[in-house]
């Protein structure tokens, strides 16, 4: 993990693909092209892509698209999917209302 990576911009042009319009992140409606564009803009990890275009940041917290996003990033960068840094999942594992949280620790 955290392999030393020189991210220097090579100056080459962004190339569109035929299937760029296919939605990848269903919750946030982020297309393959948007993810590819983020990678072109320098985003190289799942977290960076997520923070830049919101892929995997919606209601389901990336449960459906993570693997797809990872594969797209890997392909763009010429890496194996396993070489792409992935974000750490955070509690709550499922959506939990503020009210339920707020009551935690309040009553016996």
């Amino acid at each position: 993990m955290n392999k030393i990576t020189d991210r220097t911009f090579t100056g080459e042009e962004f190339v569109s693909h035929r299937d760029d319009s296919v939605i990848i992140c269903r919750c946030e409606e982020i297309s393959k092209g948007e993810i590819r564009r983020a990678v072109y803009d320098g985003m190289r990890t799942m977290s960076e892509v997520k923070r830049y275009v919101r892929a995997g940041m919606g209601l389901c917290q990336g449960q459906t698209c993570s693997r797809l996003v990872k594969n797209i990033i890997a392909k763009e960068l010429g890496l194996k999917p396993g070489e792409v840094e992935i974000p750490t999942p955070r509690s709550p594992a499922r959506p939990v209302s503020m009210e339920i949280y707020a009551n935690d620790g309040m009553k016996k």
């Binding site: 190289r44 960076e48 923070r51 209601l59 209302s97 009551n103 620790g105």
Partner: protein, 373 residues
């Protein structure tokens, strides 16, 4: 690649902003980051772009950023960083709170800030969702918020496009001196040469500065934040409280980002990991619902934790180091560096290029820390 003019250690919003303004001025910059871009506080903070309730020393920098940089930043960087200048409400529920707020207002006014106390009725006009329990607030109409993750990555993207060499996965261990002057840095595996090194690596800056005998009194504190599912847009202000029990805002996406502290964060058992604690999110939610009961059914979808680098006097060190020529420190932001990050980027670039930044940074010298008395 030829040798850079400047090496910046750390890949957060401060580093990326400095890199951007230096690169814009045709300075050759290399950024060394141990993890990924914006992995620290830059992507973990609440997004406040405030002038109010800052230390008087910081207020001019915050005002400068808001007057001159934030409004055009999206356009300049080519990425919508979701900046909104819709005011900051600092809420109070008790007379004691109002005294705290009045004190802040007085300090702000003295620094030339547009800031006032507002009544319960005025608050509800600004934000109809606030609980009736809130009896007053301070209001700074020129404060606001932005998306910290996108801001960081936008600075990074633009700096990269302008030729900045970003290297991630490089953990800088020490600064190299040659004939008494900075000559570069050593990482775990490599050596990088440059006559000027900026340490903008949060708490790591202290350890790296130690390698050349410089120490800044600062500590790591783990703070937590959380985000909700998206809601229809309800209110535009940045929020804070006199009790300092929560802060946050609603993002363009509709989700609310809130943070808060339990007062136990100085005593975390694991000083390396950034694991959230099981008691923090409930505490923050109780605080929020105490001011915004209407949010009770809104779902939290993620919580997270991040370290702040708190300096002994809670304002950053923004300074050349006299006895180590070529070393610049930008650290100790104490949890409120994001709002001033564009200005820091610009001012540090000016400090490096012409030795005379647009605003004086004298108050942020590294050698200002003295024992009390």
């Amino acid at each position: 690649m030829s040798k850079p003019d400047v090496i910046i250690v750390g890949g957060g919003v401060i580093s990326c902003a400095i890199a951007y303004y230096l690169a814009k001025a045709k300075v050759k910059v290399m950024v060394l980051e141990k993890e990924e871009i914006g992995d620290g506080g830059s992507s973990r903070n609440g997004g406040g772009v405030r002038q109010s309730a800052r230390d008087p020393r910081e207020i001019p920098i915050a005002m400068y950023a808001i007057n001159n940089l934030w409004p055009t930043l999206s356009e300049e960087l080519g990425v919508d960083i979701e900046y909104h200048k819709k005011g900051n409400l600092r809420l109070g529920k008790t007379e004691e709170h109002l005294r705290v707020l009045q004190h802040n207002v007085n300090l702000g006014l003295k620094a030339g800030l547009e800031l006032k106390m507002v009544s319960s009725a005025e608050i509800h006009e600004l934000n109809p969702y606030v609980s009736e329990e809130v009896i007053g607030a301070s209001y700074c109409p020129t404060d606001g918020h932005a998306n910290p993750m996108k801001t960081t990555l936008a600075f990074y993207k633009r700096a990269r496009e302008l030729g900045t060499q970003f290297i991630t996965g490089e953990t800088v261990k020490s600064v190299i001196l040659k004939k008494g002057k900075v000559a570069g840095v050593k990482t775990k595996e490599n050596t990088y040469e440059a006559p000027l090194v900026i340490l903008a690596a949060g708490m790591d800056s202290r350890v790296i500065a130690n390698s050349v005998g410089i120490d800044i009194p600062m500590q790591k504190i783990l703070l937590e934040a959380l985000i909700t599912e998206a809601q229809p847009i309800m209110f535009p202000q940045m929020l804070g409280t006199a009790a300092a029990d929560f802060y946050g805002h609603q993002t363009d996406h509709g989700s609310f980002v809130f943070g808060g502290s339990t007062s136990l964060e100085n005593y975390v058992s694991d000083v390396e990991g950034r694991e959230t604690k099981s008691i923090t999110a409930p505490y923050i939610c109780r605080a929020i619902l105490g001011y915004f009961p209407c949010l009770s059914k809104v779902n939290i979808i993620r919580t997270w934790a991040g370290f702040i680098d708190e300096s002994a006097d809670h304002v950053p060190v923004l300074s050349k180091v006299d006895e180590v020529p070529g070393l610049v420190l930008t650290c100790g932001f104490s949890g409120h560096g994001f709002g001033i990050s564009p200005a820091i980027g610009l001012l540090i670039s000016e400090l490096i290029i012409k030795d005379k930044p647009s605003l004086s940074l004298e108050a942020f010298k590294y050698d200002r820390f003295k024992p009390k008395g």
